[in-house]
């Protein structure tokens, strides 16, 4: 075990030394990796920041039941009980009129308007969440719910809401696809870089094998090199994304609060950033491993 760790320590030192001595070559290799990682990352951040701006758009279809303003608490409870018995209603949530007014005041920047009102004009409401598929689960529920006593209005997702949700879903798929594609690109970049290194160190590899080097021994410093490139690429992409978010956020600060939303844009969470670095490391190591594997296979003696 100690010997194994010693061999890894040496391989790591060898890889780190080569990366440091690589100068501009190493810098540009890492930069290409940063670019490949930052593109899907930017799309991801756009999506997570767009979700609240799209009006807390739920992923699943919703049906909103407005009660009459004069509905008694007993009538409101009766509607809630009726809703919970309906097939297709996955979840039923109550929004008291006081909460709705407070939220209006808080999120839309309409504090002054609300304060000037003599009374709360909003009704109590129930929100019913249906299954994601089929999309029209709640449509059939609408006339049934509308016929319940003390119900004023029943609103199912509008076409535009559905369209927006579909767009966001498509964007999510596109982000995932782009992430996979550019992940493959990261592997290819490392594969190529390590392939060139293998060629440059061909004689060393051949002599080492003649003297008894195992494939693992030869592969180790290259895999560490790829992993180190991945770490630097991941950290670079994280930093670039944070910088991008900060710049856009600064611009949005000049837009009125009711238009931009009350909270600022969010950058990557530490857990997401660490996951990004771990993924980039794994991709870099995978590319390096594959490259040396091919080289050793081609030059098997």
């Amino acid at each position: 075990m100690r010997q194994w760790l010693r061999l890894h320590r040496r391989a790591f030192a060898d890889a780190a030394g080569r990366l440091a001595r690589g100068g501009f070559g190493s810098v540009f290799d890492v930069l290409v990796m940063v670019l490949a990682l930052v593109l899907p990352l930017a799309l991801y951040l756009t999506l997570v920041n767009a979700m609240p701006a799209a009006g807390s758009l739920a992923a699943d279809p919703e049906l909103t039941v407005w009660m009459r303003p004069d509905a008694s608490p007993a009538e409101v409870d009766a509607v809630g009980r009726a809703l919970r018995t309906q097939a297709g209603a996955d979840r039923v949530r109550f929004i008291p009129k006081a909460d709705a007014l407070a939220r209006l005041e808080r999120t839309a920047g309409l504090g002054d308007v609300v304060a000037s009102l003599g009374r709360n004009p909003l009704p109590d409401a129930w929100v019913v969440t249906g299954a994601r598929e089929p999309a029209d689960t709640l449509d059939g529920l609408r006339p049934v719910v509308a016929a319940l006593p003390a119900v004023d209005q029943v609103i199912v997702d509008t076409d535009s809401t559905r369209r927006l949700r579909a767009i966001l879903r498509a964007l999510r798929v596109a982000t995932a696809a782009l992430g996979v594609l550019l992940g493959v690109a990261v592997v290819a970049i490392t594969f190529n870089t390590i392939g060139l290194q293998c060629l440059a160190r061909r004689e060393e590899i051949a002599v080492s094998r003649l003297l008894g080097a195992t494939d693992a021994y030869i592969r180790r410093p290259f895999v560490w090199f790829g992993a180190l490139q991945g770490v630097l690429g991941g950290l670079g992409a994280w930093a670039a994304a944070a910088l991008g978010v900060a710049l856009v956020d600064r611009e949005l600060a000049t837009v009125p609060e009711w238009l931009a939303g009350s909270s600022g844009l969010r950058a990557l969470l530490p857990s997401e950033g660490l996951a990004l670095v771990a993924m980039a490391t794994a991709l870099g190591a995978t590319g390096a491993w594959g490259s040396v594997w091919r080289q050793l296979r081609d030059e098997a003696t």
């Binding site: 010997q3 194994w4 010693r6 061999l7 040496r10 004689e203 060393e204 051949a206 002599v207 080492s208 094998r209 003649l210 003297l211 008894g212 080097a213 195992t214 021994y217 098997a300 003696t301």
Partner: protein, 217 residues
């Protein structure tokens, strides 16, 4: 220790580098493999080191049939051999120290042990003090001695040397023979391929003479 039984090596184009060769070398013995260029001397060493595999026959090292070793077993075998190449095969971007240290690093030896053993090996070949030199700054004889130091630094039981005195002037050649004799005296088995057997007479070797891949004596 080393035995070849009816070994044939045929190239893909049908030519035979070795045909039906048999021989045996005991521990601490020195075997000279002689013959003209193209006789199959280097191929014979390559078969013992599992650099190539025989077309037929058996090549035994320590009772292990190296011709049938799985690929994973080959590094293990080579770590127990010392290889001296005619063209030295030194790494020219590494110092003398790093070249000689290579077999020890492959085995995962500790830094202190590497330093101690490399200096001892360089002392044996008369190059102590030249650890930091780059191979390109050494003469042919010195490069050959570095190659020998690298072959013995991990104390192998068998040293395979391909023309270890080739292209060297007589003075250097004598030094190297003296060095090989010292290894044989401590029980190292030597298999030396050479086209100049008279140079190795002080080793009192047994001989195998090859001609066009066939053992004729």
């Amino acid at each position: 220790m080393i035995a070849l039984h009816d070994v044939t090596k045929r190239w893909p184009d049908g030519r035979e580098a070795l045909r039906g060769v048999s021989l045996q070398v005991e521990r601490g013995q020195c075997l000279l493999v002689t013959g003209r260029s193209g006789a199959g001397k280097t191929t014979l060493l390559e078969l013992i080191a599992a650099i190539r595999r025989p077309t037929s026959g058996r090549v035994l090292v320590h009772d292990e049939d190296v011709g049938r070793l799985p690929r994973r077993g080959v590094p293990w075998l080579r770590r127990h051999l010392g290889l001296v190449f005619q063209d030295h095969r030194l790494l020219h971007d590494r110092s003398v120290f790093d070249n000689v240290a290579l077999p020890l690093r492959l085995a995962g030896a500790e830094r202190e042990e590497i330093g101690r053993r490399v200096r001892a090996a360089l002392d044996k070949v008369g190059l102590l003090g030249r650890e930091r030199a780059m191979p390109v700054t050494l003469s042919g004889g010195e490069q050959q001695r570095v190659c020998i130091a690298r072959a013995v630094v991990h104390r192998p039981a068998v040293v395979l040397a391909d023309e270890p005195t080739g292209n060297l002037d007589p003075g250097y050649a004598r030094d190297i023979v003296t060095l090989l004799a010292a290894f044989r005296d401590v029980g190292v088995t030597l298999v030396i391929a050479t086209h100049a057997p008279e140079v190795f007479a002080p080793l009192a070797p047994t001989s195998a003479v090859l001609d066009h891949g066939i053992r004729i004596a």
